[in-house]
């Protein structure tokens, strides 16, 4: 029995099934149906809440879905596609491939979408802030761009913030500026690993006595790959280090009122929210 043959047939079936379902699934058959939303909530709890949190308010791993604007497209068809096919290159798996929950039927996916619509904040969550001024601060006096990249420009020591505005709640972003130790951002995600490495701070003294501070890129019991504050990447065998200290104290300073007023913070949040407009959901 040839695996290739099986694989081929399987792919053909998948393609034809996908073609059929796509045609049928442009609009939500349960739109605004409260009963369907309730059923969708059950499915959401079982399949989605692990990353997106209860009430779809977002978790450490999944975006806040109460935002009306979705990073990978906001229309019914976009949501269906995102749920059914996943988002390649992210932690969002295709329907049925979560390894945790189980695959949903088309009907159940529409119920989940109905539920998500029911918890979306109706009032557009536009911040009261000056995005233009926020951009100036980000790249200038705020010094954010020293460590954070936006649309290919900026530093690499902290997470890329291009899409943060479209996936996180305003309060989440503001809190992360005021209190960066609260939750460390997720870094490299390995395909087979449940949880990605976080942006933990690491201080080492190498075999020659050189002291280095930076963030963990990748670590296991025996080795450490880190980026120092000059964005140099190092690989160390742990048993060769003179000292090794890792903390959950972020390298990012806590921006208090003196460093950044509430008004300036609002402007920076407004700038982040203005970014990463959905591309229409194309691949």
């Amino acid at each position: 029995m040839g695996w290739n043959l099986l694989w081929c047939c399987g792919r053909l079936l998948l393609w034809s099934a996908a073609a059929l379902t796509l045609r049928a699934q442009e609009k939500n058959p349960f739109a605004e149906d409260a009963k369907a939303a309730k059923l969708g909530e059950y499915e959401f709890r079982a399949n989605c809440a692990f990353c997106h949190g209860l009430g779809a308010r977002g978790g450490g791993r999944g975006p806040d879905l109460t935002r009306a604007r979705k990073k990978h497209g906001s229309s019914d068809a976009d949501l269906y596609r995102t749920i059914n096919e996943g988002v390649p290159g992210t932690a969002m798996p295709a329907n049925g491939a979560t390894q945790q929950g189980v695959g949903m039927t088309a009907e159940e996916i529409w119920q989940v979408i109905t539920y998500i619509r029911s918890v979306e904040k109706k009032a557009p969550a536009q911040p009261v802030g000056d995005a233009g001024h926020g951009k100036e601060l980000f790249n200038g006096a705020g010094a954010c761009a020293n460590c954070h990249m936006i649309e290919g420009k900026g530093g690499r020591l902290g997470p890329d913030l291009t899409s943060t505005g479209s996936s996180r709640a305003i309060e989440y972003i503001a809190d992360s500026v005021r209190n960066p130790n609260q939750r460390l951002a997720q870094g490299i995600s390995e395909a087979m690993k449940e949880f990605s490495q976080e942006y933990e701070t690491v201080k080492v003294v190498d075999a020659k006595g050189e002291k280095l501070t930076g963030v963990v890129l990748n670590e296991d019991n025996f080795s450490l790959q880190m980026m120092d504050t000059k964005e140099q990447i190092h690989l160390f065998q742990k048993d060769k280090l003179r000292s090794f200290e890792k903390t959950r104290e972020s390298l990012m300073p806590a921006y208090d009122q003196k460093m950044l007023s509430d008004k300036d913070l609002q402007d920076i949040v407004a700038f982040l929210l203005s970014l990463g407009a959905p591309s229409g959901g194309a691949q």
Binding site: M1, W3, L6, L13, E41, Y42, E43, R45, A46, N47, A49, F50, C51, G53, L54, G59, G60, A97, Q99, Q100, G101, V102, E108, R183, E190, A191, M192, K193, E194, F195, E198, E219, D220, N221, F222, R248
Partner: protein
């Protein structure tokens, strides 16, 4: 064929091509006591070579029920999921040992070319390795090279209902057949020589949420399996099939029906969808003809409302008569569970002098020692962080705190839903008298919500999710002394792993981590002696075998089955 000197010490452990005892290359029988030492291993090489050559020409030795009972007599083979009927996952091979483990190198790699978790523990019989893979693959490989002899993949329906990945953990072997439990809830027998299907038995209708992921257990002429489906409101069971015909000989429902003892532990009709799956391979005590099986959560896992009572026999250890499936006794680890604390960890037999025990590091964070003649609890001690229980009943069994139940908005409880350990196998090393287990230090926020049952649909009664602060979140391999329940040493993992543990007579324990390392540790001290980066998290339990006088250790990671040996 290479001629190796034979001292005749252990050749009587071998069978020839027809299954007769193999007399050894010099044709003489010798009844000196068996030695599992390195000398013994090297001297069996000629016998192994002869058997491998037999396989190539005229088919292989038959695996008789007697060989399964006497698996300790043929340490070069790995005849069942846990290595022996006692569930010890201990290899008596010692060619790879504390002194030379640092020199281990990869020997060969077999790729299933499939995605998803690769959880198999392969079998090795007389030079042939039999394994499974994702999406119900099975294969026989030349154990010296990893080159396939045959490959099989079940044509699965598109609407199967696996819980947690399209996984399979391995095969059983008996006679000339290997046995596979499938994700569409069938039990099939494959011809060990060709991979052709010999018989195909339906255990249950998979559309109702049943699936099989465990490696079957062969006892006498029976093939025993249990089912998965605690996430779908199934009614769990353990089955025995005739190895020759595939006819079902007995079924034990893990949720008692009307009129049966234990039925009263379920509210109303909740027993019909009570879950209690049996999804990890059991063990067997030939002397008493007792087979020990463990069960998982009552359904729905995160909601106790509507199923008031202890919910027998969920999260239990069951002692069944191997011929009839009749219940001899049970011990329930977690009553009326609301945290998915499945007891589906291999129940391991340990003897302490006259005491015949079953030990289990349970998903609920306690290490339990139970008398295996009576099911009486002897001790229960925590081996990981526990918040769900802070008291014990008169028997000494942990009792759940009232305020540990899931709430609509979530309640933080330790261990988390994945448990303080899970299905990955522990090991018991008779040389150190220590029990080694993968511990996961993780808490979760458990929420609950009413959920109507719908046949074949996920039935959790809500969800769990990790703490926002992500702490604690790490793991450890712990060496527990079953006599005291105390941890003698631990090897910390940066994050919780899904790898099982193997111990060997070389004074080693092998395990893997989520960061992708496969590691050899000193069994006495926990010191790391060697590691290899597999390139993917390890989601399997390792094993060891020998062929041509050379010991190998094997583990599945990513889509690769990797083997290691000395240069």
């Amino acid at each position: 064929m290479k001629k190796a000197p034979m001292n005749g010490a252990i050749e009587e452990r071998f069978l020839d091509c027809e299954g007769r005892p193999f007399a050894g290359a010099n044709g003489k029988k010798n009844h000196r006591p068996a030695s599992f030492g390195m000398t013994g291993l090297l001297n069996v090489s000629a016998a192994v070579l002869v058997i491998a050559a037999c396989f190539a020409s005229s088919g292989q030795a038959q695996v008789t029920p007697q060989r399964l009972r006497d698996s300790a007599k043929e340490p070069q083979n790995w005849l069942m999921y846990s290595g022996d009927y006692a569930g010890r996952r201990f290899s008596a091979l010692d060619q790879i040992n504390k002194a030379n483990a640092h020199a281990l190198v990869p020997k060969w790699v077999y790729q299933t070319m499939a995605s998803g978790k690769f959880e198999t523990t392969p079998l090795v019989v007389d030079g042939v390795l039999y394994g499974t893979g994702q999406d119900d693959r099975a294969y026989a490989l030349d154990a010296r090279t990893g080159r396939p002899i045959w490959q099989y993949q079940r044509a699965l329906p598109s609407d199967i209902r696996p819980c947690c990945g399209r996984v399979n953990r391995g095969l059983a072997i008996l006679g000339g057949k290997v046995f596979l439990g499938t994700l569409d809830s069938h039990v099939i027998a494959l011809d060990a020589k060709t991979g052709n299907v010999v018989w195909d038995a339906t255990a249950f209708d998979y559309r109702k949420g049943y699936s099989i992921t465990l490696a079957p257990l062969a006892i006498k002429n029976l093939v025993l399996i249990g089912v998965s489906g605690g996430e779908y409101g199934i009614r769990g069971f353990i089955d025995a099939y005739d190895a020759n015909s595939g006819e079902r000989k007995w079924r034990f429902y893990t949720v008692p029906g009307p009129g049966e003892p234990g039925h009263e532990t379920w509210e109303g009709d909740s027993w019909k969808v009570g879950g209690s799956p049996a999804w990890i391979t059991g063990t067997y005590e030939p002397a008493t003809n007792t087979t020990f099986w463990t069960t998982g959560n009552p359904s729905p896992s995160n909601r106790g409302e509507g199923r008031a009572g202890d919910n027998l026999y969920s999260n239990s250890l069951l002692a069944l008569d191997a011929d009839t499936g009749k219940l001899k006794w049970y011990f329930q680890y977690t009553k009326h569970d609301e945290h998915d604390y499945d007891a589906t960890q291999v129940p391991v037999m340990v003897d302490q002098g006259e005491k015949r025990l079953i030990v289990q590091a349970n998903r609920n964070g306690f290490f339990y020692v139970v008398d295996r003649a009576t099911g009486k609890l002897i001790s229960a001690n925590t081996y990981a962080k526990v918040t769900w229980s802070d008291s014990k009943d008169a028997r000494g069994a942990p009792v759940a705190r009232k305020d540990a139940s899931p709430t609509p908005d979530g309640n933080r409880v330790c261990p988390g839903a994945a448990g303080a350990t899970n299905w990955m196998s522990p090991t018991y090393d008779p040389q150190t008298s220590l029990f080694y287990v993968t511990a996961r230090e993780q808490c979760d926020i458990f929420s609950t919500a009413p959920q109507p049952y719908e046949e074949g649909h996920a039935y959790y009664g809500s969800a769990y999710f990790p703490n926002d602060d992500a702490a604690p979140f790490w793991g450890a391999l712990r060496a527990i002394d079953p006599a005291t329940g105390k941890t003698k040493w631990e090897w910390k993992h940066p994050s919780p792993t899904w790898s099982g543990v193997l111990s060997t007579a070389g004074g080693l324990v092998f395990t893997g981590d989520a960061e992708g390392n496969f590691i050899a540790l000193d069994a006495a001290t926990g010191k790391a002696l060697w590691h290899f980066q597999c390139g993917a998290s390890v989601y399997s339990s390792p094993m060891a075998f020998a062929i041509d006088g050379k010991e190998y250790v094997a583990v599945a990671a990513g889509s690769a089955l990797l083997t290691f040996g000395l240069p």
